[in-house]
């Protein structure tokens, strides 16, 4: 199946200078995004998942910059963009972002209708009644009842879930090509979360958007994703389709993530855990960053960072265990259970 690559990031390196020291937040990440798909980027805090996607819209903090690699979007390498003016054509218009906390994403002093209308006016040049009509239409699209009346209301008059719908309306108002959702439902109740996930799915179908989900919740990933990229310590350690990642995971970190889920745990037995804490990215990391916490670590993991090994045309993982020279190993019980679903593909 030939699909269009809509965005292609290659060997991206992002560093921050913090208190006089350099922090390498992203250490050579490559990612291809195909038109119309939903890609989930999974990682824990400190993995760099937010930072990585912020670089697609030029929203890195002032003390951070892309120090290597390229991001190809619509034929241009946007990693080279240094000026705000260059980003204006992309941010909000072609690539839009939805953040975690709807309260801080909205201007508390402006009616929400205006906040949507502004975006339409700014990016599409449509003014007056026409833009207002489009804004009300957008409110309706995101499931807000009685949109004409609610157009005139302020953010504090909406509940958390409603506010997030408004934020999504603002982001989608200009029919962007790519919608990046950075933990959009983490701060919401689980019943509201389910509704928001459904909303984004429907909008995606209707508007033909490509969606990137950043999340730490593997349940959300299972619900929304076509493809999944797993990040650890500033690198993408495994990428594949949702089925491949859940039923045929190959990287020990992915195993650990899946095994540690209480939903997959066996009552009475301790959950599989990942001991220790993620590495300090101020320091230069030798070898595989996950090595010290890896129960399946090989000696070479501490010496040299593994390259990607292909498991299938759509599935690859960055672990020495896939090297032909690697010894036999035992997969954790939880992973075995998941694998049995597909008849144990390997």
């Amino acid at each position: 199946m030939e699909r269009n690559k809509i965005l292609s990031a290659k060997d991206i390196e992002i560093t921050f200078s913090l208190r006089g020291r350099k922090l390498t937040a992203i250490r050579k990440c490559s990612l291809d995004l195909y038109e119309g798909e939903t890609l989930a980027i999974v990682g824990e805090s400190g993995s760099g998942k937010s930072v990585f996607t912020k670089s697609f819209i030029g929203m890195l903090d002032n003390n951070g910059s892309i120090t290597g690699g390229s991001i190809e979007f619509e034929g241009v390498d946007i990693a080279n963009y240094k000026k705000e003016s260059q980003w204006l054509d992309i941010r909000g218009k072609k690539i839009a972002m939805v953040f975690q906390d709807p309260m801080t994403s909205l201007n508390p002093l402006k009616i929400i209708g205006e906040q949507i209308r502004e975006v339409i006016e700014l990016h599409q040049g449509i003014k007056g009644e026409e833009s207002k009509r489009m804004a009300i239409e957008m409110l309706d699209k995101v499931g807000i009842l009685d949109p004409e009346r609610r157009y005139k209301q302020y953010p504090h008059e909406f509940s958390g879930g409603m506010r997030q719908r408004v934020v999504i309306a603002i982001a989608a108002a200009c029919f962007p090509k790519i919608l990046i959702c950075d933990e959009p439902t983490t701060a919401l109740d689980v019943t509201i979360q389910a509704q928001i996930l459904d909303l984004i799915k429907n909008l995606q179908k209707e508007m033909g958007m490509t969606v990137i989900y950043i999340t730490h919740d593997l349940g959300v990933v299972a619900n929304v994703a076509d493809r999944v990229a797993v990040m650890y310590a500033g690198e993408i350690v495994e990428v594949g389709t949702a089925e491949e990642i859940f039923y045929d995971a190959r990287h020990p970190y992915t195993w650990a993530l899946l095994s540690s889920l209480p939903q997959l745990g066996i009552k009475g037995e301790p959950l599989a855990t990942i001991e220790g804490t993620p590495p300090n990215l101020y320091n230069n990391i030798e070898g595989d960053a996950f090595a010290s916490r890896n129960t399946h670590a090989l000696k070479i993991d501490f010496i040299e960072n593994p390259p990607y090994f292909d498991v299938s045309p759509t599935h690859k993982a960055k672990t020495w265990l896939l090297d032909p020279r690697a010894p036999e190993y035992e997969i954790p019980k939880t992973i075995q259970k998941l694998r049995e679903k597909t008849g144990g593909k390997s």
Partner: protein, 309 residues
């Protein structure tokens, strides 16, 4: 299971905040018991009142009416100093946000020994020092951490410091208020395992407050589902998952995302609308519809539910 030892008994609890026009009923007509040695989970969404109940038991929040008894003694409202002291030593709490629950300007050593200082629960400095060392080891932290400050640690480590702080008091009953919600996914497992281990070793009883049903399935013996200040269903863990009767419980269960793409894609979302209940004439009651399975429903609904069992 005839001789179950009731440790905590909550009867007709009501907690109201504010007065007059600004009155807000956070918890209404809540009844439940917690047996010694079990993990009892209270599950609800934000604003359901679950945290309020937990805080009322440990006496941080006042109650408006109803009683909370511990080992038969009433512990809400005004109580004498001796009982207050007993409550503090026997009931402890683990908080949700590891970033906010530790005093940033105090050393870990002081943070963990705070309770010991309050009641002079140590013989001398050496004894206290040893107690702190033991507490750190028990939660899987290194002894050298005692001389450091909270900001030097990760979320999971901080949460374990909070657990050490509570456990050093040798409590019998621990209220864990969303102890893993603010933690990273892989760290949650560590903390859950730790809580389970400590429970077995010290014969603890837990009240586990959470919003994530999938987590509580793993850790609890019984689950109570709370919605807008009222408990709507209470039963053994597996019973709730096998036969969720109240529509809110069903909605909650269907909303929880399961980390399995096949199941998730086939799932149909159930939405709960509280207006579906008509309680104008047929008033609802808290009824034991089946052995150890309680539900809040009126007669009409009870009849419906019975057919589903």
């Amino acid at each position: 299971m005839a001789n179950k030892d009731v440790l905590v008994d909550v009867k007709d609890l009501q907690i109201t905040f504010g007065e007059g026009k600004k009155k807000f009923v956070a918890v209404d007509d809540v009844n439940f018991q917690i047996y010694r040695g079990e993990t009892f989970s209270l599950v609800g969404e934000s604003g359901s009142g679950k945290t309020t109940i937990g805080r009322a038991i440990i006496r941080i929040n006042p109650t408006t009416s109803g009683t909370i008894t511990y080992e038969g003694k009433k512990i809400n409202g005004k109580i004498d100093k001796a009982l207050d002291r007993e409550v503090i030593q026997k009931i402890q709490m683990i908080f949700q946000d590891p970033m906010a629950s530790l005093n940033e300007r105090a050393k870990v050593d002081y943070i963990i020994s705070e309770g010991l200082y309050n009641f002079k629960l140590f013989k001398n400095e050496e004894d206290r020092y040893n107690k702190v060392q033991d507490a750190l080891k028990e939660v899987g932290l290194l002894p050298e951490f005692a001389s450091r400050f909270p900001h030097e640690f990760s979320g999971g480590q901080r949460q374990r410091i909070g657990i050490a702080r509570a456990l050093i008091m040798q409590p019998e009953f621990v209220i864990a208020d969303e102890p893993i919600s603010a933690l990273d996914v892989s760290i949650r497992a560590q903390v859950l395992n730790l809580l389970n281990k400590l429970k077995k070793e010290r014969n603890l009883t837990y009240l586990f407050i959470a919003h994530d049903l999938s987590v509580v399935r793993f850790i609890s013996d019984r689950i109570a589902v709370i919605h807008k200040g009222r408990i709507v269903e209470l039963a053994d863990t597996e019973e709730i998952f096998a036969h969720p009767l109240h529509p809110y419980t069903q909605a909650l269960l269907s909303a929880v995302p399961i980390p399995d793409p096949e199941i998730e894609r086939k799932k149909k979302l159930i939405v709960y609308d509280s207006n579906m209940h008509d309680y104008s004439v047929d008033k609802p009651k808290w009824i034991e519809i089946k052995a150890n399975h309680f539900i809040y429903a009126n007669d009409k609904e009870l009849a419906e539910y019975k057919t589903k069992l």
